[in-house]
Amino acid sequence: MTQGSCFHCHEPIPDGLDLTVEIFNKPRAMCCLGCHAVAESIVSAGLTDYYKHRTDVAGKVEGDLVPEALKLQFQRLDMEEIQDEFCTNEGDFKEALLSLDGVRCAACAWLIEKHLSRQVGVVRATVNSSTHRLLLRWDPAKAALSQLLSSLANLGYQALPYDKEVEDKSYQDRKQSFLIRIGVAALASMQVMMFAVALYFGVFDMEPHQQSYLRWVSLLMATPVICYAAWPFYRSAVTSLKAGHPNMDVPVSIALILAFVASSYATIYQTGEVYFESISMFTFFLLLGRYAELVARHRGNARSANAVKLLPAVVHRLTNAGVETVPVKQVLAGELLLLKPGETLAVDGIIRSGHSHVDLSVLTGEHEPIAKSVGDTVFAGVINQEQPLEIEVTEVKDTMVASIVRMQEQALASRARPVQFADKVARYFVVALLIVASATATFWYFNRPEDALWITLAVLVATCPCALSLATPTAITAGISRLGASGVIAKTADLLDQLAAIDRIAFDKTGTLTHGTLSVSNVKTYTGQFDQQQVLAIAASLESGANHPLADAILVAANADKQTITVANNIELAPGFGVSGDVDGMAVYLGSPQYIAQHTSHSVPSHRVVLASNDAVLAGLDFIDPPRDDAQQLVEQLTELGVSAAIVSGDQQSHTAQLANTLAIDDAIGNCTPEDKLAWVKQKQCRGDNVLMVGDGINDGPVLSQANASIAISTGTDIAKRSADAVLLGSKLMPIATAVRVGQQTKRIIRQNLGWALGYNLVVLPLAVSGMLPPYIAVIGMSASSLIVVVNAMRIESMKG
């Protein structure tokens, strides 16, 4: 933990704030009232163990712990008819599956369970820390659901009913059936292997009837493995054959069935060899590989699906008869809804009456309210901050939030180019393998008929291209999931491939490298009459009524707030130029140098804004748009990765160059039109560079599409986000460097995996064809190569940074 950061959430502590909570016998600093309250309630409940064992920091607890809006939403959840939708009755108790916001690690799960189980009326609370779901069983006679949820919100966790429709039920079922198959295969294989050891080592002093007995029990134990556990492979093989594209399950199924039938034949007629242990083990390892792939693929999805849950389940519908409260599912497009202050909108719509500020943080991650009035489009998930709004519904189901979630799912589902390539290779490989296997069988049938079957089986098993077809998809899945965890939501699976090739990165300036908000950088006084603070105070009293970025910056610098400031008299505003008024009986002018030159006869120094009285120029003010905190660090890291950075901005050349200077970026191009930006990227691409563009504005749209890879800032415009290959969530820039690293690492891993898989297959094929490879070695070789590939891919997910 660094000095000066919050003990609870590790965010920096604002200047002049002194909040502490005693944890582990030491006062610990807190960054805000929210974190303070949460930490205190954790300590007073005796749950400080949470801090000892957590592996990730907590989320910052913003402002009000339980805002009014949330309380209302909780209360509505107490209604019987709404509870019917998401609760099940278990005798006297009720049970609900809730999705949780704010869970970071296993310690959070423990904290929530402990906290809830101490509440009156809670029968059981179970938290799943990987899918962020809470299963709550409570006694409705003793506690209302809203009370329990509020008490949880006081700890900084938000729980709301989980929409059953969103839950991927089939995934749960598939996962369970895989687990059972794995369990059956594992337990049975262990038995069969023990018998195999007995048969192998005890074969000389064993009576024939005992040997026959051991073979029969092996057959008995192997039967469920072949007939039940291996079932998914047969099904997939049949499907792929029907589609005309034989996949790797075809040789797998042939090998399994052939070996089983031959071994059974040998058992029944007491001739030849049995290989029950090989086929059981083969099934077990194959299942393990498939299970790992399934789980990895799903993990990325589960968290994004939780975003949908934040929407309320009921809305207020406006009808001729008045306002009625109805479930969202009954609302149709075109109907009018009333959105009261503090409420969350559950649908997409257009404002038909009223104007208000709304919080778009669900979509953009920024909590700064945005003004919306009649005719503006609002999306599901926005929170109304001030005035009631009447909204015409345009979309109930396929809302913006839902489409963002889908975006990520599509990225995961879309097959990246390297995956398609690997699939194709594997397909030809399977066909070639089947031909080689038949040729081998024919050759040995004429030369050594008694061994022909087993040699063919060894060929089928050992050269099964499992590792080859797992090599790329597992790496891509792990890479996309790793990107999501660091806050970069990929829209296409190709992104990783493109990121790996990046050697040049271009940033937009305002809103991307900077926050897009101005602050006063320099106050230069020209008379001894007023000091800097006084100059700012005078400027602030002139600007108190104004509403533009420069005025906001002056007010912030003067440390003034709009309510308490002494407003200047006789204010005259010349929008876009300046303002004049009387402060303490003195006429003063504040504005651009041209504005001052027009109104006074002084020689005006060159500043962004100048303050003058009738007697003299009092002061000049300069402004900067400060870069984001981690912009410097980002540029350093990118340089280390061998990516050179550039700024391409529509802003003035001098401002652009100044920022480039601060951040140690060599290339700075200002005064760019969208066409200039496009031309710049094209020119670099002509030289053979691969460009990653990071931008946020409407004018970045074309260049984001043109660049080899592009990332849009989540607070940016819709156009930017739509044109980009990925969206960066949150206000930090460092995930961009992480994304480039993940891209490079993914490419490296794919190369290693393919190299290994191809190399292994090529080495083992001649051995198997020449009959030098017994089936059980073939099984071990094939399984090990698949497992190595999967485990290698998993390394991407555990990458740091």
Binding site: G46, D49, K114, T131, L187
Partner: protein, 56 residues
């Protein structure tokens, strides 16, 4: 070696029971969250409520 005619059926019986238990465990969602319960042993569930006493 005649004993194997008794012991192996018993072993198979055990396996069947084990598979049964495993299926029950999977069906009751005990394998849903494997990250979580590995750390649960670290947490002291019965911490003394009296926090004024110096610990240890």
């Amino acid at each position: 070696m005649a004993i194997i005619y008794v012991l192996i059926p018993i072993a198979i019986l055990f396996i069947c029971v084990a598979i049964g238990v495993f299926i029950w465990a999977v069906k009751s969602n005990q394998f849903d969250d494997l990250e979580r319960h590995g750390t649960s042993v670290l947490f002291d569930d019965d911490q003394p409520d009296d926090k004024d006493k110096p610990s240890q």
